[in-house]
């Protein structure tokens, strides 16, 4: 469902860029590549959650594979779309931002599930 918002968000970004930049030009292929990338990222994001449900995998393994899958998909899309340049310094900043966002999202999800489990445990008793 949320994959459907990707093209809308990218459309808004292109719109803002065209309003704020004097000579903003973008080809039809670049628009197509941007929209296809948002779908691909949504697809990978949804599919990668399977790693967390493989019970015989230890947590560090499933988390690491989940993280690496998303990082690889995002890196390829960002570089392929030239949303970030292929520059070691920029890639390092990208990696740092990615790790931070991943940690924040992971923590938020964990605490929200923990709150739900506490409420359910009260109801069981």
């Amino acid at each position: 469902m949320f994959g459907g918002f990707g093209p809308v968000i990218i459309g808004i970004i292109y719109w803002i860029l065209s309003e704020c930049t004097d000579n903003f030009e973008i080809s039809g292929f670049e628009i197509f590549l941007g929209i296809a990338s948002t779908y691909l990222l949504a697809f990978v994001q949804a599919g990668a959650s399977v790693f967390n449900q493989i019970e015989h995998w230890p947590l560090p393994k499933s988390t690491l594979i989940h993280f690496l899958t998303l990082f690889a998909a995002y890196s390829v899309c960002y570089i392929g779309n030239t949303w970030i340049p292929f520059d070691p310094k920029v890639l390092l900043i990208f990696a740092a931002v990615f790790v931070s966002v991943y940690f924040v999202v992971w923590t938020t999800v964990y605490f929200s599930v923990r709150a739900a489990s506490k409420k359910l445990n009260v109801r069981i008793k």
């Binding site: 449900q53 947590l59 988390t63 739900a116 489990s117 069981i124």
Partner: protein, 143 residues
């Protein structure tokens, strides 16, 4: 509330309840009757056992085979999960695509580090609540 029991060897067994409204007691009787009416045969290592539904923690699918996790052990069933879902009493809820859980046999819920809600049953087995079923599980517990 009046209780009348007529015992006659030739009579067909039936329970009739006359009430002004559905109370927790009536719901409990309904549950007992539906559980008593269910015949579930589980297959252990060597023998077939008639399982008491109220003592089953959950039904789960593993490698395409359906198992009942009871307090007395794990048993293979011949029915498919959707067939069980149709006839099980309402104390069983679907917590993910491959598991029907008995809410009266849930020991506790835990948050797993993978971000999913873990269910611990009284027999020590565990399963998780899928994101798709999370809403209906919460609603079932009045959250």
């Amino acid at each position: 509330m009046k209780l009348k029991i007529f015992i006659g060897k030739t009579d067909e067994e039936e329970i009739i309840i006359r009430a002004r409204e559905k109370t927790p007691l009536i719901e409990a009787i309904e549950r007992l009757v539906s559980e008593a009416d269910m015949d579930i045969i589980g297959y252990g290592n060597k023998e077939a056992v008639k399982l008491d539904v109220s003592e089953i923690c959950c039904f789960s699918v593993n490698d395409g085979k359906v198992f009942a996790h009871a307090l007395s052990g794990k048993y293979r069933l011949k029915q498919r999960l959707f067939q069980l879902e149709e006839k099980l009493p309402d104390s069983f809820i679907k917590i993910n695509q491959s598991c029907l859980a008995n809410i009266r046999m849930i020991e506790r819920f835990d948050a797993s580090f993978s971000g999913s809600l873990l269910v611990r049953f009284k027999d020590g087995s565990t399963d998780y609540v899928s994101r798709r079923q999370m809403k209906s599980v919460k609603e079932r517990f009045g959250i």
